[in-house]
């Protein structure tokens, strides 16, 4: 199936669109790191590497072929602090309108009603990586809240706090937002094909800015689709074999 389906006959899957959209957010980066359990960002970084002709360096945690760190678990963090990582990805059980991220749980800490795994490196990397892309497929008022219950990592910092990094964009199944670091707010950039601004408003718990006319999120062209379904599928399949079975176009059995 991998290379047999002519790309020009088949529309992109939802995840192929996400991969393509994230890749666009990485334009101009020199080095992108991808954390654990991040198949879509990983595929996107590998796509952008392919588009850059190899100029973009990609470090995929968990990969053998695309992980060149040799100083243990601390190297990702040291590397970021040295200014050698241009982009990273964070998710969030909750994300609020100021870009605060909650990876810990809902309700009153420590005996949270819902407990998520924990903050991982967010409380550090969000400060140090220039372009942090918030990525969460689920776009609901449960996830995109007015105010997070627990700040794993704050979206903004007071003056005087060392913070070369921070949120750059937020991507969900419905839409793409830019983050405005002056106004500390998200601004809707585009809505994905098949969805509308009203749907985004209905499902977002925080207020955000938007232009009068909200564009549609651009779709990958045929060349990109072929690249995603061929080489990128192979490359990310090394780390996420189960993911590539479902995320990419599979022809008639889709």
């Amino acid at each position: 199936m991998k290379a047999g389906v002519p790309a020009d006959t088949i529309a992109p899957t939802r995840r192929e669109l996400l991969i393509f959209t994230i890749a666009g957010l990485l334009a101009g980066c020199g080095h992108v790191a991808v954390g654990a359990a991040s198949p879509i960002p990983g595929a996107a970084a590998l796509l952008q590497r392919a588009r850059s002709g190899g100029a973009l360096r990609v470090s995929v945690l968990g990969s053998t072929r695309n992980n060149f760190f040799t100083n243990g678990g601390v190297e990702l963090f040291d590397c970021a602090a040295q200014g050698r990582i241009d982009a990273f990805f964070l998710g969030g059980g909750q994300i609020d309108g100021e870009g605060n991220v909650n990876l810990v749980g809902t309700g009153s800490y420590p005996s949270t009603e819902v407990r998520w795994p924990g903050s991982f490196g967010s409380a550090y990397l969000y400060f140090l990586v220039p372009r942090v892309i918030l990525f969460r497929e689920e776009h609901t008022r449960r996830v995109l809240v007015e105010k997070v219950d627990f700040i794993s990592a704050p979206g903004t910092s007071e003056k005087g706090i060392y913070r070369p990094g921070g949120p750059h964009a937020l991507l969900t199944n419905l839409a793409l937002f830019d983050y405005d670091r002056i106004r500390h707010r998200f601004r809707l950039r585009s809505v994905h094909p098949g969805h509308g601004v009203e749907e985004v408003l209905d499902n977002t718990g925080f207020a955000f800015d938007r232009p009068d006319d909200v564009p549609q999120t651009p779709l990958p062209d045929l060349e990109m689709l072929a690249l995603i379904r061929g080489r990128i599928r192979d490359e990310i399949g090394e780390v996420y074999p189960n993911f590539v079975e479902t995320a990419f176009h599979r022809g008639l059995d889709r």
Partner: protein, 275 residues
């Protein structure tokens, strides 16, 4: 190796005292699961678990078995198998004291101990609720720039570091390759207990290429051979995780009864997986 009397997993589990501050690596970086089962068998209690910098099934089992009082970690998750049910349950019921951290903070606090320092500064964190709840973390002024606050983390000096590795030699030198956080753990901890797939008859220092990835015996208190010692988790470059077991575990461990069944039926050998 200072603890010559440790010959098997039960000796090793006996040498980890109740109440010990026990450092363990992430599930993907050499978890000593056979030793963890031995710890549960001996009924270990009141452990202060330090996860470097996160944990999964290892923390989950120890918590479920009631062996953990305090857990210091940046996350507990079973990854693609989902949330860690006994961890989540223990949090909800307030059965364990949480010291929620962020990955580089745990690395930095261990490095402080490895350097005999009382603390290590670290960027980031300020404005995170982690800091609000970590009474042991402080914000100090950068002594070289006025008006530049920075977090100071107290050193974490584990009583014991416990992990599994592919290879050691008879002197107690342990190969960890690129998994350098295991070296930091061993430098930081008072004692390090290691299980390995294989014990080499020749010194690991004979091959200079190998030597770059070796923790010297100086830091190792005991090495015990344990084939498939990371099962049901995987070991880098050796074997993968036991997917069937893990799926089954997650389903069973949703209830107290189910978890009790896991503990009861879990044999010393990885036979449950073969059912």
């Amino acid at each position: 190796m200072s603890e010559d009397h440790i010959r098997g997993l039960d000796d090793l589990a006996a040498a980890i005292a109740d109440g010990a501050k026990l450092a363990v690596p992430a599930d993907y970086s050499g978890p000593a699961m056979a030793a963890t089962r031995a710890l549960i068998r001996r009924g270990a209690k009141h452990l202060h678990l330090v996860c470097v910098p996160v944990s999964g099934l290892q923390a989950e089992l120890l918590i479920g078995a009631g062996a953990v009082d305090v857990i210091e970690t940046s996350a507990v998750t079973l990854g693609e198998y989902g949330a860690a049910p006994r961890f989540v349950d223990a949090v909800r019921r307030g059965k364990i004291t949480l010291k929620d951290a962020t990955c580089p903070a745990i690395h930095a606090a261990l490095e402080a101990a490895a350097k005999g320092l009382p603390f290590m500064p670290l960027r980031g964190i300020i404005g995170s609720d982690l800091l609000t709840h970590r009474g042991d973390w402080k914000v100090i002024e950068n002594p070289f720039t006025a008006g530049d606050p920075i977090v100071a983390l107290p050193a974490i000096r584990p009583d014991v570091a416990l992990f599994h590795a592919p290879l050691a030699d008879r002197e107690g030198n342990v190969f960890i390759g690129r998994h350098r956080e295991l070296m930091t753990m061993a430098h930081a901890a008072r004692q390090s207990f290691v299980t390995v797939e294989e014990i080499s008859k020749t010194s690991l220092f004979e091959d200079e290429r190998l030597a770059a990835g070796v923790i010297p015996a100086l830091y190792i208190s005991a090495v015990v051979e344990a084939k498939s010692g990371a099962w049901p988790l995987g070991l880098w470059n050796a074997y993968g995780e036991d997917k069937a077991f893990l799926r089954r575990y997650v389903a069973l461990a949703k209830t107290d009864e189910g978890f009790a069944e896991v503990l009861t039926r879990w044999p010393d050998e990885p036979a449950m997986a073969a059912e």
